[in-house]
Symmetry: C2
Subunit: 211 residues, 2 copies
Amino acid sequence: MRISELSRRTGVSIPTIKFYLREELLPPGSPKARNQAEYGERHLRRIWLIRTFTTVGGLDLSSVRKLIQVIEDESLPLAAVYRILDRTMARPPLEPPCPDSVTQARDQVDRLMEQLGWRLLDDSGGATTLVQVLAALRTLGCESDLAFLLPYARAAAALADAELDLLATDDGEPDRGAAVVRGVLLDVASAALRRMAHEQQVLVRLPDAAG
Amino acid sequence: MRISELSRRTGVSIPTIKFYLREELLPPGSPKARNQAEYGERHLRRIWLIRTFTTVGGLDLSSVRKLIQVIEDESLPLAAVYRILDRTMARPPLEPPCPDSVTQARDQVDRLMEQLGWRLLDDSGGATTLVQVLAALRTLGCESDLAFLLPYARAAAALADAELDLLATDDGEPDRGAAVVRGVLLDVASAALRRMAHEQQVLVRLPDAAG
């Protein structure tokens, strides 16, 4: 198909598609006539992927580029794919407002991980963020016992396990593209489920919330 | 304390504090001498709150303003506080790349909610986002049975329930400020736990990920 059809089928403007081509987010089409190129299903899917990551996934283009490189580099072992995915998805840690609470928060996270039997890498983006959240709760006088986080953390582990199960394919060769897509979108899905669960519990406990 | 001490103790610059005052995110200090005002613990805590919401919480200033209004408006019933909180925290829905998959995705979400016994309001931000995620998974050829989301959703409901339990205070008067702070920060905490759980399962199942 020509670029105009690619644009029509994806709803993405021709200038944006040309931008993706220039930025090498999208592979070039096959040259056809002068100033024309032919695009295929592969281009269609790639544009959907870019749009999904930037809209539903909320990622910036430099993260999208990193994830596309990961999908394309077939020499990368799956473990490395996931390591890069986890680093890309962990939002860059920002300093919490009150550094005094950080030491206690770090102890809390260490205890929580011990209770869960988890051992993460030192540079875990998730753990860094959790420390910041707990430090902020403490600074604002809202700290509490963290036991109520344990069942949720265990369910999150079961979810991640189910996600990794989905990798198994008939020919034993994991689909790296699908692994990255699911990694990104299940983050958004779990945030959405947390929101839905919150809305649900508020409606159950404070019935006039429906008004 | 003077504005300079407020700045020193919060690590927020004087121009930024003046901006918060002009924007009425921060209540004025008590007038003292000409061009001077006295600030107290209340201002200190408010600045921490604003910084927490914009850094750790990742909110923009217009969302922060909305949440501060909710905390300050004591005529608002708690149910309304939570309703506004849930709407503010649900990221504005963006069109998924391929609208064709949306109808099937909506059916999937309806079935999931039926299995969970959840009844949400029609404008649920969480449900809208989940529909978009599922539509995107389908467009990208990564759709699957959603049964693996059920235990996670139930754990999210238990977490929200525990969060609402924390509201109970000795004098029976719920702390609206704490309710909003926890609502915002437990979103970030649950996303962090999802990341940690993902990192953990990858390390367990693909041990060379630690390399």
